[in-house]
């Protein structure tokens, strides 16, 4: 299993197996890049193209945006910490607020902290595989913004988005990639 105990403190022993499994998944994505031994905390990043082929992400229309929003350089290259972060947020145990923050980042294609009409159009096209007519897309985007926009600037800020989420009863269910419980931070 390797000498990975140095990353964990004593309290994290129960989560050791979970982290080892995740590390196994990380390793099998790029065996030549990822070392089995993380004692010296190497700075290894896996490119976007390898990560989006994971079975959990392959069929997701937002897979590129998901990986980009968890990477620190914004281009989709994930280190192991980012990888665990991603699975932690997208697991069953992550709280609603955290999922909302990342969901907002995923839908914000031009990364300007607002979901504008163009972002919505791209979202819609990815959702429907571009099978709606441009006129229908336009109508749907306008209606969505009209419903959710609270401060009248015809863009959705995070506050607008969060307000919309608070009214949805099953938001949590739709944002769960894995049903394993990745809850390493319950110690503190």
């Amino acid at each position: 299993m390797g000498n990975k105990q140095t990353i964990f403190t004593d309290e994290q022993e129960p989560y050791c197996s979970l982290l080892c499994r995740l590390h196994g998944r990380f390793h099998e994505l790029a065996p030549h890049l990822v070392p089995m031994d993380y004692t010296d905390d190497p700075d290894v990043k896996i490119p976007l193209t390898l990560i989006v082929n994971m079975p959990e992400l392959k069929e997701n229309p937002f897979r590129n945006r998901i990986v980009e929003s968890f990477s620190e350089d914004g281009l989709g290259n994930l280190s192991f910490n980012d990888f665990v972060d991603m699975f932690s947020v997208l697991s069953e145990m992550a709280p609603r607020e955290l999922k909302a923050i990342y969901a907002f980042k995923i839908y914000d294609f031009n990364v300007d902290n607002y979901i504008c009409k163009e972002d919505l159009e791209k979202t819609l096209n990815k959702l429907t595989k571009e099978e709606l007519t441009p006129e229908e897309v336009n109508l749907v985007c306008e209606k969505a913004i009209e419903e959710a926009d609270l401060d009248g600037d015809s863009k959705l800020s995070f506050a607008d988005f969060e307000n919309m989420i608070s009214r949805a009863p099953d938001f949590l269910r739709y944002r769960t990639l894995v049903t394993e419980i990745i809850d390493m931070w319950s110690q503190a």
Binding site: E59, D112, N113, L124, L127, K129, E146, E147, L177, S186
Partner: protein, 657 residues
């Protein structure tokens, strides 16, 4: 009306702005100097930086956006920071904990332990739920609506199991303890008796007559079951209603919900993914359809409205006629079933089962007729569905009520036993009907469609979809029958549990093997309230039945014997100590009950007025937000215009010099 106000203020906003509202303008707005200096922009920037600083160590806890609760004991997994930051925060918290006193740190650790215990207990209970894998598979292939049906079925199984456990503890065990076994006559045991509930089953624990010496236990047990069911149903109904209210009336038209929450992230199968894509596409297309329909409705002329109302009146009349017809049919079935002369045993069985057969056939056919009728009435799709559901609910509860009334009217020795038998027969027949429907109708249709796909018959039958609302209504109806019958046939929840388990597997077979995924995703939100309301009505019906029957109490059979309920309670109260007796007499006096009702009315009124005031405040705050935002934009624009003018004038001055 609040919606219209909001939309007009939104329009006012876009027409009021001094310059064109093209994208150039907003680009300018967000690039101005003063915009960069606004406090709201600065907070957002700092938050972004925190996310991206990966270097170890000195990130400031203060840089989190103000909306995040600054509670130092907030669990780390709730914070939107990257892993490295969380690790640093955890180390810092550890150090802090070493600095504060013993008492405070003990309290903190107790809080954390309690929270973790709660989480673990929650996880344990959700892990106990059976059939998770099956439900996940069904969700992947057929969508959320069909899964909701199976989740509801599982909920009913658990409810019945709980009721069964309570009955065993409160009723069965004490009566078995009291009962002397010499009284138990075992006659000829034949299959016929199992179906009819007669013969050896008559004196068995199945029916009311068995429980002779334990009036208090019996009634307490039954009361517990019914009140527990009432509490669970009301709670479920209130939660569902709250969601519906929060989401606004036309939630199914809420497009933003579909765009942002439409995709289920758990999908890994390419087939399921393409299914989900087509679901979302159809939903959105249907929403646009409904919008166009609304447009059309608002443009209807007077003459069209008159024609439409006339048509709707006629169709409603047809529905009423159908309902009355079915009620009369059931009446005749009950009358003819009374002549239970001993013919050949098959005829006897058929005669005994004639009322349940009629009821089941009527309940099966008429809802489909209703859904056809509602197609002609030119309503929105959701209204059509709800109207069909309301009519079907009326049909099912009505037939059950008529059946109960006619059974109670008949004069029998030990009427409670007869009543219990009828409910028992109804339950057994429902199971048989489901079995026949699954294997003889649905499966055969599917086989026909598969073997001879191009034959005329197959094309006439068409492909089968799992019609969720009518199936849920069946479940609700069977639960109503169980509740109505539990008082007279105490083992009915147990039988019901077995029946529901069988139905689970049969429906699973139907869905997986014989149905194709529906093209329209069924959103359960608005109809869920109707289903829970029907459950509640069923429970009320059982209360009423028990009340009426206990008033016209018969002689001799069952736990009460020759006493009434009132005299039994009286005897029990006299055995309690004096202080308890005086307390009970105060509680049951008129003055106390009057005061209680008055207090409830006052509390309700205060809640309602509170809610109304809150709603008005929300509207006012929304308008204020729009106004403040437009003020901000105006000010920023003016400021940048003024700056530019000053810059230009200072330039021309410099050039001039």
């Amino acid at each position: 009306m609040a919606d219209e106000q909001r939309s007009t203020s939104f329009q006012r906003l876009s027409s009021d702005s001094t310059v064109s509202t093209g994208s150039d303008d907003s680009y300018e707005y967000y690039q101005t100097d003063i915009y960069e200096q606004l406090p709201s922009t600065l907070t957002k920037r700092r938050w972004q930086q925190v996310e991206q600083t990966y270097e170890v160590g000195s990130c400031e806890y203060d840089l989190l956006p103000p909306s995040i609760d600054r509670d130092p004991h907030q669990p780390l997994n709730m914070l939107p920071l990257c892993m490295q930051e969380k690790r640093n925060l955890r180390d810092r918290r550890h150090q802090e904990r070493l600095r504060i006193g013993f008492w405070a740190s003990w309290r903190q650790s107790q809080q954390i332990a309690r929270r973790r215990l709660r989480e673990q207990v929650g996880r344990f209970f959700s892990g106990l739920l059976p059939w998770k894998h099956t439900l996940h598979k069904i969700e992947g292939r057929f969508g959320v609506g069909v899964k909701a049906y199976f989740v509801f079925l599982r909920y009913l199984i658990c409810l019945n199991l709980l009721n069964c456990a309570i009955i065993t503890g409160f009723v069965l065990v004490p009566s078995l303890y009291h009962k002397s076994w010499e009284d138990y006559k075992s006659d000829n045991k034949s299959i016929l008796h199992i179906f009819l509930g007669s013969g050896f089953l008559e004196g068995s624990p199945l029916f009311y007559g068995f429980y002779q010496k334990i009036p208090l236990f019996f009634h307490t047990g039954m009361g517990t079951i019914l009140f527990l069911s009432l509490i669970m149903i009301v709670r479920r109904m209130v939660v569902g209603y709250k969601h519906m209210w929060l989401m606004g009336k036309h939630f199914s038209l809420n497009v933003s919900y579909k765009v942002f929450y439409g995709w289920d992230f758990c999908i890994q199968d390419p087939q399921a993914a393409s299914l989900e894509h087509s679901f979302i596409r159809n939903e959105l297309k249907m929403d646009l359809e409904e919008q166009r329909f609304r447009q059309k409705v608002s443009e209807r002329s007077m003459k069209q409205w008159a024609c439409l109302y006339f048509l709707r009146g006629i169709l409603n009349f047809v529905v009423v006629v159908l309902l009355c017809g079915s009620f009369t049919l059931i009446y005749y079935a009950i009358i003819s079933a009374e002549k239970k002369e001993s013919f050949h045993w098959t005829v006897k069985l058929l005669m005994n089962y004639l009322p349940p057969i009629t009821i089941t056939v009527v309940n099966f056919l008429l809802p489909h007729v209703f859904s056809r009728i509602s197609m002609f009435e030119d309503y929105f799709l959701t209204t059509q569905l709800n109207l069909t559901l309301v009519r079907s609910i009326f049909l099912k509860l009505g037939t059950l009520a008529i059946y109960i009334i006619f059974i109670t009217i008949q004069n029998n020795t030990c009427a409670e036993n007869e009543f219990g038998k009828e409910m028992y027969k109804l339950t057994i027949f429902q199971l048989l009907a489901c079995f026949c429907n699954t294997f003889l109708i649905v499966y055969l249709k599917r086989l026909l469609a598969e073997k001879y796909p191009s034959s005329k018959l197959a094309r006439m039958i068409g492909i089968q979809e799992f019609v969720i609302p009518l199936n849920v209504l069946d479940l609700v109806y069977s639960q109503t029958v169980t509740w109505v019958g539990v008082f007279y046939c105490p083992l009915l929840p147990g039988i019901s549990t077995i029946k529901l388990l069988a139905i689970f597997y049969m429906k699973k077979f139907t869905v997986m093997r014989c149905c194709v995924p529906a093209q329209r995703l069924f959103r359960t939100s608005s109809s869920a309230v109707l289903f829970h309301f029907m459950l509640l009505l069923g429970l009320i019906m059982s209360f009423v039945t028990i009340g009426v029957n206990s008033i016209r109490s018969d002689a001799g059979c069952g736990p009460l014997g020759n006493d009434t309920m009132y005299s039994v309670m009286d005897k029990f109260v006299k055995t309690l100590p004096i202080s308890a007796q005086t307390t009970i007499s105060y509680i049951t006096s008129e003055a106390f009950i009057f005061a209680l009702i008055l207090a409830e009315i006052i509390i309700l009124t205060s809640f309602v007025s509170h809610g109304r005031a809150n709603r008005k405040t929300i509207e006012r705050l929304k308008d204020m937000l729009v106004m403040c935002s437009s003020d901000k934009r105006y000010l920023v624009k003016q400021h940048s215009t003024w700056l530019r003018q000053r810059y230009r004038s200072s330039e021309t001055e410099a050039l001039g010099k």
